[in-house]
């Protein structure tokens, strides 16, 4: 009898426990009380607000984490009634998880994303229109931020996000291999012909050296095809976004360059099918001469893969007509109260958009042993840009001269095409074909990809 009672108790406890667990898993809503006046006014320091913010550095990134906590403390001196609940994670956005969170509505109040996620976030209905909360009073440096970058956060004239970093793609190269091959490490190649010539010399070093590396899997092949098209002055889709526009002389040139380097020059190695971050790993292993990337690739190579800043340099996008641009931003979750949005704007401004503070406190970054000197972010314009360069140089911990070729060439940024990922997936096939099939028919590949992208664009209408 006693045993029976115990079993009943255990069973009921189990059921109740499961129920409570379910209830505990339910997210509690952020509170806000008090209140500021007009929408365009900065946050009232007396307003009591709680917001969750993701992309807080994890404990494994001790220095970055310390800086985040310091910034929260400094922010709380200005806004003592604002509670910032940091949600840590690295990398800040895992695309699959991000999509699932958007669907479930479980993202943070102020959530991190890539520039390219704008349409995804808007389609999910999870972003708040923050147009009326953003002005020179709430973001004092607003006029110093590149308007093109701010435009990238807008849709139909409404502002949905604030940028935290941006980049332009370029050519990342291994200075060590350049020197060994007798190439000028301070003057990287700027045309595809020069790249092919440099790749030959690097490959000739032997011992597994590969002149040039290229992605071709998980949509990254199409992504880099787009970058190369932009470099040559081409476009992926027509201006109205309804038709494919890459089946032209530039498109053929891109695939022909890759084909020639892979099969005629044999400067790309036999292993293909690379996806992010395979080329970075190859670069760190000291076997890869060049590939296309963004400045923060170098941070990743050093901090996560054990590379050395002295070994890498960066030049402008080959072709130099335009370059694919991208970056990171923070959205504001739909349904936040005006004070929560104001608190989020104030936090992002303090941490990411104020010179001398937060991410732009270069002296602190240097003291914490973190790299200073990478050409990213680069959203300041005019005198603010000059100041940023000066501040960065004063505290530089990495050889900034290695990025001089990249910085000194002003290549105009160009954003990704509409339906970018779907288009990249189609172009992956064309890129992987020229890298894996010696008998690849470039005209046919482009023509097939064109009709497939037209289908993708038609489906999207």
């Amino acid at each position: 009898m006693k045993a029976l009672r115990y079993r009943k108790f255990a069973a009921v406890s189990l059921a109740v426990g499961i129920g409570l667990l379910g209830a505990a898993c339910n997210n509690s809503k952020s509170d806000s009380s008090g209140g500021s006046s007009a929408d365009g006014a900065p946050l009232d320091p007396n307003a009591k607000v709680t917001i969750s913010v993701d992309c807080m550095p994890p404990t494994t990134k001790a220095a970055e984490r310390k800086e985040w906590m310091e910034d929260v403390a400094a922010f709380n001196k200005l806004y003592p009634n604002v509670t910032i609940n940091g949600k840590d994670g690295f990398p800040c956005e895992d695309p699959a998880k991000f999509t699932a969170m958007l669907k479930a509505g479980t993202e943070a109040d102020v959530f991190y994303s890539y520039f390219t996620d704008l349409q995804t976030v808007l389609d999910s209905g999870q972003a708040e229109d923050i147009t009326k909360y953003v002005n020179n009073k709430t973001i004092p440096a607003l006029d110093n931020i590149d308007p093109a970058v701010m435009d990238g956060m807008k849709d139909e004239g409404k502002l949905y996000a604030l940028p935290t970093s941006n980049y332009k793609m370029g050519l990342i190269y291994n200075r060590k291999l350049f020197q060994q091959a007798g190439l000028d490490a301070d003057n990287p190649p700027t045309t595809w012909e020069d790249i092919a010539a440099a790749a030959k010399k690097i490959t000739a070093l032997g011992n597994g050296a590969i002149g040039y590396g290229e992605y071709s899997a998980q949509n990254t092949g199409g992504w880099h095809f787009t970058a190369q098209m932009y470099g040559l002055g081409g476009s992926m889709v027509s201006d109205d976004g309804k038709k494919a526009a890459f089946n032209d002389a530039n498109g053929k040139l891109v695939l022909q360059h890759l084909y020639d380097m892979r099969w005629k020059d044999q400067t790309m190695g036999v292993t293909q099918g690379f996806k992010w971050p395979d080329l970075m790993k190859n670069m760190v292993s000291g076997k890869e001469g060049m590939y296309l990337g963004a400045p923060d690739d170098i941070t990743y190579m050093v901090q996560s893969l054990g590379g050395n800043y002295n070994d890498y340099g960066m030049g402008p996008m080959p072709g130099g007509k335009t370059t694919l641009s991208g970056g990171n931003d923070y959205f504001f979750k739909k349904g936040l109260s005006p004070d929560q949005i104001k608190a989020g704007v104030a936090w992002v401004t303090f941490k990411f958009l104020t010179q001398g503070k937060g991410q732009f406190d270069y002296a602190r970054t240097k003291a914490d042993g973190l790299p200073v000197g990478l050409p990213q972010p680069l959203f300041w314009v005019g005198s603010a840009n000059d100041k940023d360069i000066a501040d960065k140089s004063a505290s530089a911990t990495i050889p900034v001269a290695n990025f001089k070729p990249y910085m000194s060439t002003n290549v105009q940024p160009k954003v990704e095409p509409v339906r970018a990922q779907e288009i990249y997936k189609v172009l992956d096939n064309a890129v992987s074909a020229v890298l894996t099939d010696q008998h690849a028919d470039i005209d046919k590949l482009l023509s097939t990809a064109e009709s497939q992208v037209n289908q993708v664009l038609a489906n999207a209408q």
Binding site: A11, P95, V270, T271, S451
Partner: protein, 310 residues
């Protein structure tokens, strides 16, 4: 006066199932059972049944700007117009056929071989099962190294033997067979053990009789082993087809999903792309529903075929 020692007969009791008791009484009596059951049932509801129902609903919906609308069969139409849709089906069927040739036949013959062995049977069984105990990601990474055309083990062996090397995962022609070889190696241990158990249940006198009749090894397999294990073979065939039609892990890890020129894009990988790369959950759900219907249809056809044969 005689006192009867016989039990007094009362009216015959009604069967328990016919007895009318209030629901609350029955619930109270079975509280323990229900309590323990509720955890499993909740898990099934939350993680299996509800997602299935949601998938069917989402297959007919589209979300734009936070507004979800019913779109009828538009998602199905959209995916059928996708140029990769038919390629993904062709690849999936190709994978399934190759996986059946290798993944179904090889474990069966390995099991027969193990069953015939007189010595070291236990050690060899462990050896065959060992790959199953490795985490799938570790196994796949191992094969990725084996397949590397530059420094991989397979090409090194071929070179040593003065045989032509292969591009393995780096060629549209050889990528899918390479994936199947890796998948077979990773999964054959479990199938082999199941076949082995079935083989050991075959009465030995059947083989003795066959041997007395002068049957060769092949005839013994054909006329004794296969008929005696037909039930388990049928079940394994069905399970294998269902599993291989849902291929994802190996292609995702070995070739990044698509492979050279999309040669390893499977239906489930395309579903993943729709959901997580294109943020088109409606189309992903529609593709999932199509796959489910194909598998249910196949299973029903197979069940009917098996019944007819029996």
């Amino acid at each position: 006066m005689a006192v009867s020692t016989l039990p007094r007969h009362s009216a015959p009791a009604r069967p328990a199932s016919r007895r009318r008791t209030p629901v609350s009484n029955r619930l109270r009596r079975n509280l323990t059972g229900h309590g323990f059951l509720i955890g499993a049932v909740l898990c099934f509801i939350v993680f299996s049944w509800y997602p299935m129902v949601r998938e069917f609903i989402m297959a007919f919906q589209r979300t734009r700007r936070g507004t979800t609308t019913w779109v009828g069969f538009a998602n199905f139409e959209r995916i059928s117009n996708d140029p990769v849709f038919w390629q993904a089906w062709r690849n999936t069927i190709y994978f399934t056929v190759l996986a059946l040739i290798l993944g179904f036949a090889v474990p069966f013959f390995v099991a027969i071989l193990l069953n015939e062995l007189r010595h070291a049977k236990a050690y060899l069984r462990i050896l065959v099962y060992l790959p199953v105990m490795l985490p799938p990601v570790a196994s796949v990474l191992l094969f990725k190294y084996f397949y590397d055309p530059g420094y991989g083990l397979f090409n090194a062996i071929l070179k040593t033997l003065h045989l032509p090397t292969s591009l393995w995962l780096n060629s549209a022609d050889t990528a899918m067979p390479s994936v199947v070889i890796a998948a077979t190696w990773m999964n054959m241990g479990s199938a082999t053990l199941i076949y082995l158990a079935a083989l050991q249940s075959i009465p030995g006198d059947l083989y003795e009789a066959a041997e007395l009749d002068g049957a060769s090894l092949w005839r013994r397999i054909w006329h004794v082993t296969i008929p005696q294990t037909r039930l388990i073979l049928s079940l394994m065939l069905l399970l294998q087809i269902i599993a291989t039609m849902q291929e994802f892990t190996e292609v995702y890890l070995l070739t990044g999903g698509d492979g050279p020129q999309g040669s390893t894009t499977t239906v489930v990988y395309l579903m993943y792309q729709y959901a997580f790369s294109f943020n088109n959950l409606g189309s992903a759900a529609a593709l999932g529903v199509i796959l489910l219907l194909v598998l249910v249809g196949f299973s029903a056809f197979y069940a009917r075929l098996s019944r007819a044969r029996d």
